[in-house]
Amino acid sequence: MAGRSRGLSRTTVSNLVTYALVVIAFVVVQAMVSNRMLTYSLQGQLVPICAYIVMAVSLNLVVGLSGELSLGHAGFMSVGAFTGIVVAASLADAIPNPVLRLIVAMLFGGGFAAIAGFLIGIPVMRLHGDYLAIVTLAFGEIIKNLLNNLYVGIDDAGVHFSFSSAEALGMAQGGKVVINGPQGAVGITKLSTFVIGFVLVLLAVFVVLNLKGSRSGRAIMAVRDNRIAAESVGINTTKYRLMAFVLSAALAGMAGVLYGMNYSSIVPKKFDFNTSILILVFVVLGGMGSIRGSIISATVLTILPEALRAVNDYRMLLYAIVLILVMLVTNNPTLKQLWRRIKGSFRRTPKEPAVASEGGDVDA
């Protein structure tokens, strides 16, 4: 085991690189913002990019680490966003400090999303493969439909809920409607900032990387790699799969709060199947299980459509073609061979097979 004695393990170095990447990016961008070097466009996208990064990282937990296809991830974002909005509105007087209020809203948003993740996870964990995928899709649509019919109002007596109309809330004079069914939430006080977004990204990365390196993380990956073998050595597969699912939902919920409180109006329709697919594409293009990849691909793929505005008519067409081409190219056997040979020529020592080195982890 020559590797062990050489100081920091490969995974730790890799993790540190990821943290460094996030911190350096933040510092550089923040400096650019202070010196007014960023365009309005880019500046306006900083918070959504942070939210999408966290969404991608959290989905990677389910898709990459746990090896399950989830097609309803935007539903958790939605639950978190609307919970956070209600909480922030109801605490507007109690907690005047915007940063504190946002953090409290995020905690509640993440918490509710985690509960939703748990409730959804129980039936979902009984299925596998493509059936699991379709059920997550179904739940995503159910959440969207339910939230479309949700009315929430706040007055002096407290918080009121209704599933039929705003009038049915029965609020006293001076009460205000916070969530107005399909019109979503309007009049949101924008609380999200880039700094908080950065903190959330760091938190998400920290949580997921630590999970990967922990016993639970290894158990989750064992279940992914060979469920029956894992069961046969006594790993409680349902518990670990559910753990990954709930954690991922919680992070998605917090990302939802960040996203929702960045705009003065948010509608449930936004968090639909297309958004779930969008995030799935981030994860797959970045590499399954690769947190750094998710960060990079979420950032690039969020900025790219804006950068392509000059060819607006063909934007989505180009996006589709690029998507197909990337998939084709990276799965082309000849190109893969070529790539491996190029990489091989850079390596000084022969590459150890994955199993023999540090616990068989995949690259961060």
Binding site: A133, I134, N145, L285, L317, I321, P333
Partner: protein
């Protein structure tokens, strides 16, 4: 009378879902891939038929044929260019590629035909509606044609897969590709044929869908595609009779949910139905129970 009327509407809607679901299930059975672009091939079928009738002035029957041929060719081209190179790739990559193809089709349609919705002509107006019980129950000609087409396709496919060589080859490939190849079956052309049939069916579904609900836009195929996918899984993905059962069930459930529970929550109820069924029967209603080899 309301109940019967709703039942007929449900079966008619379900028949459309069933035809679309057939395409999904056949492709999944053989290539083990979820072809998300399937819904958009429906849309292309609708547009091809519309253009043949409106711009080329061809008669409806020929236009439908044009549409079927066009979609079949499109299906084969897509399969050759985008899916075949990914036969050995992880299934998630194929899924993303399928999504890419879906976006590609939608946006190309947008560029070619524009965003303005087109009103699809009622091809079956001349057949006349059936009015029963003094006009209280109306069964439209489109509904009759749809259900009839569904039955015909079902019978044809069942005969095809059990009696013909190509059909049996398809079944063999879906069971075990390796063994099929060893038996001398050309797996590649079998898969291509499956896509071709699936796409042809999509064209038929497109024509029927647009006849029943005459608005045609580049995004027309998207939601029916998702619902038909749900229907295919509901009936047991990979099973041809399952696609029919799942489709009809979904259509009836959707209409009944709208009529008797409330139009606001009908989507949620339909999807909840899927979840309940899958919890009871994890591989779908007619799906084969999967036993895993350790």
């Amino acid at each position: 009378m309301g109940f019967v009327s709703n039942l007929v509407n449900g079966i008619s809607l379900g028949a459309v879902y069933a035809i679309i679901a057939l395409g999904y299930t056949m492709v999944y059975g053989i290539a083990k891939m979820l072809n998300f672009a399937h819904g958009d091939i429906i849309m292309v079928g609708g547009y091809l038929c519309f253009c043949s009738i409106s711009y080329l002035g061809l008669n409806p029957f020929v236009s439908v044929l044009v549409s079927i041929v066009g979609c079949t060719v499109l299906g084969i081209v897509i399969e050759r260019l985008a899916y075949k190179p990914l036969r050995e790739a992880p299934s998630l990559d194929v899924l993303i590629t399928a999504i890419g193809v879906s976006y590609l089709l939608q946006n190309t349609a947008l560029l070619i035909w524009g965003s303005n919705p087109k009103s699809f002509p009622n091809l079956f107006k001349s057949l006349g509606n059936i009015r029963l019980f003094d006009g209280q129950l109306v069964i439209s000609s489109t509904a009759i044609v749809t259900i009839a087409t569904n039955i015909v396709i079902m019978l044809a496919l069942t005969w095809f897969t059990s009696k013909t060589r190509m059909g049996k080859a398809m079944r063999a490939c879906s069971e075990d590709k390796g063994a099929a190849q060893l038996m001398g079956i050309n797996v590649n052309s079998t898969i291509s044929l499956t896509f071709a049939i699936g796409s042809g069916l999509a064209a038929v579904a497109g024509v029927l869908l647009c006849s029943a609900y005459p608005t045609l836009m580049p995004t027309t195929g998207s939601m029916p595609g998702i619902k038909a996918f749900v229907a295919a899984v509901l009936g047991g993905i990979g099973s041809i009779p399952g696609a029919m059962v799942g489709g009809i069930l979904l259509g009836v459930a959707e209409i009944f949910a709208k009529a008797y529970i409330g139009t606001q929550f009908s989507d949620a109820i339909v999807f909840a139905l899927l979840i309940v069924v899958l919890l009871i029967k994890p591989t779908g209603i007619l799906g084969k129970p999967i036993s895993e080899k350790v």
